[in-house]
Symmetry: C2
């Protein structure tokens, strides 16, 4: 099965970059320069960066070149979604009202990446506050199509080969959807596994920090560095073929037939390579996940963004955002609590599934990235997993009828992040060999 | 049973203040002036305020006096724990490294209180980052004793009658403990029920915004305003006698006999007034709650405060804090995940208890506030409920052998905050009549 990834020029994998710097075959400065050139060449069309100060990135690289390489990501350029604070770069959360904002402190995930030796190349464009006003970023495979959102810039710069790693956040579908549309690996860890300090709060029960890479191995490195682990424990070699549950769920008819076909081709390739594959019936209450995720997400965003409604005028905030905030404030508390209770019941039901299933194979999006930049596309297939807080990963899975990327979603049990990543690497290898 | 509350001069209840302003019998300016006078008279000994700008508070009050009273707390002065951001007052998180910090935006809980018409009187002293370096605040009942922590200033200013309401946060015992030591009502809602945006993150799985008042009715008003509810739904009259479970738990021998006696007196008074009271055997795994709460709290604080270790020198941060952060970073991920899994198992076990029990009656602290200001006292009896995310309330329950306040803790089921508050008002009435 062909993936688009191999056909694009790239700065190379994060593992390769880190190794070549560690072994003295490259300098951080040279690697950063290459990323900067690559970014400059694409930006006029891609519009993926919010804040981008080449001299600042080069300074960080030169400072790292004067030190011994000790961190997991020593000298590796990385892009940060602009919902996370940076002390040395502007942070606007995708909103014009924060255009001049300079946070006092790095977000915890940014500090963890810097502590691992990563060079922050810049901040990537995001849908405003992760809500709904799209940014100007275009799809790297076709600029007339959306890259998805809200982590639009972060998915685009990795797909475009400018950087090997970028951070993202997901509350509904903000990592998996742009990863699928841009043809990259996107990983949303278990809810609560990465520190949220300094990352703009939208819905505190759902907001999850994760990121993008061009391979499962690289996204694992990113996860380890953001988790504050001391060293890489990722080893895809110690992995038996997984027991896979095909989970189409109650919304499968929203998906294009070619998307379901792509998923079935992945399942067939895994089966041929020795995986146990069976179809899973979704619990009956899974059909409520859309309404539950929306109730929680809206209720909480109406409270998290209340300060902005007091600090800025309606004209500054804009009608659409203000209407969303007001709608969130109007969600009845009873609906909110019922949604939490329902999600908790469903989580218990699903957890038993994982007793004899290593991962669920699910749809990432209904199809390829839609035409136009006014919408970031449909997140139907992401909302349930966000609601449940389960770790989930988008794996590129060929292309659709318009020659744009398709992806499949691999879902693991709560806190089964490392196992999911190992099994995902197995599936990735099987798919690329197919 | 005598409580200390009635013996102290006070600005009066939040409900009475709000009503008198609404009915034109008082102005916000006059009410705020009274709070300011009361605060100024105590501050030399009490040391409860971090930032306090009388002119700013009076300006807010005058502005409210020119508007129609519409919010729940129109004109009511309130104190904000200095872990929550304020756009018009310095916010230091109790730390010298943030002494000049001026946040760009109010925390969500502050914005909600302002939206309800509250006047922010100032920021109250807190243990540094809510970790362990105490602030200078003294116990309002005896300045040689700790007020408890970390929400020291917020508990003290309410106990001292300077304000009727203040905010607090709890990760371990930071609301219930100071409430018990200062003899006030402290309420920690269900984890996740109040927006955390703009409140300094310490342990994202545990941090909960709540607050203090001199009565259950007032703390209910505070909770409603912070939750972003439109109007007060608190009505203690529609409350049958509760079914109470006495929960001494596996650590009861840490408590002084007089503390257990106080709890038993409350239980007896409730029983006489018609409540069903029975003793509850703690689930066997409850004894792990201390180790689980600590594993999660330390693991997460080591990651949340990582940015500070990069931005400030070891000398600026101090040896003790730095050692705590490093120890948190060294907590094995396996211990962290095991603690989460254990807590989840215990939560399920306890939830079934609430099928035929309205509230648990538990110890708040081992005894009265200890002598000295070097430690904020023992949080043993708070950690389990924080770990489980259950709503919990400290109710003053007379005094101990040193004539300092004692409290009892009332615990409700997840998201049963409103019921817990109604039943707590019932218990409060019974106790004050006894």
């Amino acid at each position: 099965m062909e993936t688009l990834l191999t056909s694009r020029p790239s700065v190379g994998s994060a593992r390769a970059i880190a190794r070549s710097i560690r072994e003295g075959r490259a300098t951080a400065e040279a690697v950063v320069s290459k990323s900067l050139e690559r970014a400059a060449a694409s930006e006029a069309v891609l519009q993926a960066w919010h804040a981008f100060e080449p001299e600042l990135a080069l300074e960080q690289a030169r400072r790292l070149d004067r030190q011994p390489a000790k961190g997991l990501l020593h000298g590796v350029p990385i892009a940060i979604k602009d919902l996370s604070d940076t002390s040395d770069l502007p942070t606007a959360y995708g909103s014009p009202v924060y255009r001049d904002h300079r946070p006092a402190m790095d977000a915890a995930c940014v500090a963890a990446l810097r502590a691992a030796g990563a060079v922050v190349l810049g901040k990537t464009a995001t849908v405003e506050f992760g809500a709904s006003r799209p940014c100007a970023t275009t799809n790297p495979h076709n600029p007339l199509h959306t890259p998805g959102g809200s982590s639009a810039g972060s998915a685009a710069v990795v797909a475009d080969g400018q950087v090997s790693l970028s951070t993202g956040t997901q509350t509904g579908g903000s990592i998996i959807r742009p990863a699928a549309f841009c043809g990259v690996v996107g990983f949303k860890p278990t809810f609560g596994s990465i520190a949220v300090a300094g990352t703009k709060s939208y819905a505190w029960s759902l907001d999850t920090v994760g990121g993008f890479a061009n391979s499962v191995a690289d996204v694992s490195l990113l996860f380890e560095a953001m988790s504050g682990h001391e060293r890489s424990r990722f080893d895809e070699s110690d992995c038996r073929p997984p027991r896979i549950g095909i989970f189409l769920g109650p919304f499968a008819d929203v998906a294009a037939p070619s998307t379901v076909d792509a998923l079935m081709r992945v399942a067939a390739a895994c089966s041929r390579a020795g995986a146990t594959v069976r179809e899973i019936d979704a619990p009956a209450i899974f059909r409520h996940t859309l309404e539950w995720q929306r109730a929680i997400s809206r209720y909480e965003m109406g409270r998290s963004l209340l300060p902005e409604t007091r600090a800025f005028s309606p004209e500054e905030l804009g009608e659409v955002l203000l209407a969303e905030i007001r709608a969130g404030q109007a969600v009845p508390e009873t609906s909110y609590i019922a949604a939490k209770a329902g999600a908790s019941r469903l989580a218990t039901e699903l957890q038993s599934l994982f007793a004899d299933t290593d991962l669920l194979l699910a749809l990432s999006t209904p199809g390829e990235a839609p035409f136009g930049l006014a919408s970031t596309g449909d997140a139907t297939f992401c909302l349930g997993w966000s609601l449940l807080g389960l770790p989930t990963l988008n794996l590129p899975a060929g292309t659709g009828p318009q020659n744009l990327p398709l992806g499949v979603q691999l879902v693991g049990p709560r806190y089964g992040d490392e196992c999911l990543l190992r099994f995902a690497a197995w599936v990735e290898r099987v798919v690329s060999d197919a």
